[in-house]
Symmetry: C2
Subunit: 318 residues, 2 copies
């Protein structure tokens, strides 16, 4: 029976809030710009320091993101916050540099089919376009980050090639990118492939830091967080209330839930700088705004020591 | 950055299905006995070998369990199956020995308040009653197992005493019980207290095997599974579809979900003997029977390599 245990948790884990970007992008109802701004302000109030606020995609493709500039300009910035936005092409970079965004995230898919469906071009074409996009962002004083969608499996092609992700990672590294997000776009990450992917990438890409962007589509999102922590990852994307989801998997949940992640990390000995109660308040605000129940659990049950009166309804629980 | 990793997963993990007991017990609608029998048969068909079928509680207290004898008599038994039932008192033992149940599970709570509310007696009174119940079960040829409710926190009292659980474990050991279930009755287990509790119990109770009965009330159920595996636990309760829940936490999910657990273990390198597709079929049957959506995720999204046609609705996912 193994009893070595995980390495003892210690130190800081960065939570990047992706709710207003990856969460809202598939919402059919357009959320008022002022509400988006208020949501990001509330996220920052909760202690979150990195927010992927919006996406500089074509407003025709994703109408929800048409107000990217306005949202970014409306947020109450603080010295220690880091506001990011997805910048899928040069047109996006041209828009980003006119805003107070701190960084632009380049995007590519690990599979050819997903890249074509999501970005309407081949992987080679995406890679070839990166230098100009990165240069435009940097000329505008913006940080450049990289993301890889469907990094743990593609809903069309199945398993993705680790060599393919390494190739993308080398292209990012060649551009001076040191922070790379591994997107579990449709929730195909699971302990074995999380370990295999992270070990392969760490060996091939020294100096690159990884952000895990996990979805809870198959219920194992927070389990994958523990595995990722065990593999040295210290930065995770999450969305308030577990907002998001995959248009190809009806009923499936979306991003791992920010406040559930905060709870897990708090109860594992990690420091996040995020206040759980305020994080729950953000999720409840998101839920009220969308008018439907979100998948978050801690927002319903409350933190574990939120006690009940002993004269409540009796149970017959085992 | 730690890179020791978890110990490599290998070997067998036993999944005990608790859906018809801990799952159904709080359902207001009485499920027909034939349906319960068909559910357990389908669970056994999926490869599950241990089922906590029912509970020999007072039919007045829990009308859903009034058909305990009939359900147990109706199940198609196989030589390698292990059917268990909760036996909270001597009256329950008298009933259990008239059935084909293989084992009776004694029950006590880790907190005084929960024990009084759940079993209407003090912890001392429960402990004093155990020898007669165990003797009656053994006289009837039944195995005796032990369970501790609210082992990771009590919704009324908060943190529970590890010494108190050790005292209960010693009482079980004195009765010759070697399998003890640690009930996370209202989902208060989290990595730190799972580790602390398991380490404390293993040190104090050599020879005792532990079953983790985790709930997903706060979203961290499967993360707690990984922590428990890391602490040497090889047996978990779960419920088809994630059925169950706590009457004190409206909207909260219940037991960890059997098919999501099978998926997690499959994708981590463990062997369970359970067929994922058949396990999903059981969850869907449960859902159809109850007429409402259950919290299970894999039953909705499907296994990770269940691919989508590339001509499906386009995404804008990152």
């Amino acid at each position: 029976m193994p009893d070595t245990g995980f390495p003892p948790p210690h130190g800081f884990v960065e939570i990047c809030e992706a709710g207003t970007r990856d969460g809202l992008q598939i919402e059919a109802t357009i959320i008022p710009t002022a509400e988006k701004i208020a949501l990001v302000d509330a996220m920052l109030d909760s202690g979150i320091r990195h927010v992927e606020v919006t996406s500089f995609v074509s407003p025709r493709a994703v109408p929800q993101m048409a107000d990217a500039e306005e949202v970014l300009r409306g947020i109450r910035k603080r010295p220690d916050t880091n506001l990011m936005a997805l910048v899928p092409n040069l047109r996006g970079a041209e828009r980003a540099v006119t805003t107070p965004v701190d960084g632009g995230v380049l995007l590519i898919s690990a599979s050819e089919t997903h890249n074509r469906k999501n970005l309407n071009r081949s992987i080679d074409e995406s890679l070839a376009a990166f230098p100009a996009v990165a240069a435009r962002l940097r000329d505008g004083g913006k940080e450049v980050l990289g993301a890889v969608a469907v990094a743990f499996g593609c809903p069309f092609e199945g398993e993705v090639s680790l060599d393919g992700i390494i190739r993308i990672g080398r292209a990012y590294a060649a551009l001076g990118v040191t922070q790379m997000t591994l997107g579990d776009t449709t929730g195909m990450a699971a302990p074995n492939n999380v370990r295999r992917t992270l070990r392969g990438l760490r060996a091939a890409l020294p100096g690159m830091q990884f952000t895990m962007h996990l979805h809870n589509t198959r219920g194992v999102g927070l389990a994958n967080v523990l595995v990722s922590l065990d593999e040295g990852v210290r930065r995770f994307d999450a969305a308030a209330g577990g907002l998001g989801g995959c248009p190809f998997a009806a009923g499936a949940t979306g991003n791992i839930c920010t406040e559930d992640l905060v709870y897990l990390l708090d109860e594992s000995g990690w420091t996040t700088g995020v206040d759980l109660d305020q994080s729950i308040a953000v999720a409840k605000r998101m839920e009220a705004l969308l008018g439907r129940t979100l998948p978050g659990q801690v927002m319903r049950a409350g933190p574990r020591l939120r006690l009940h009166a002993a004269n409540a309804v009796p149970t017959a629980a085992g």
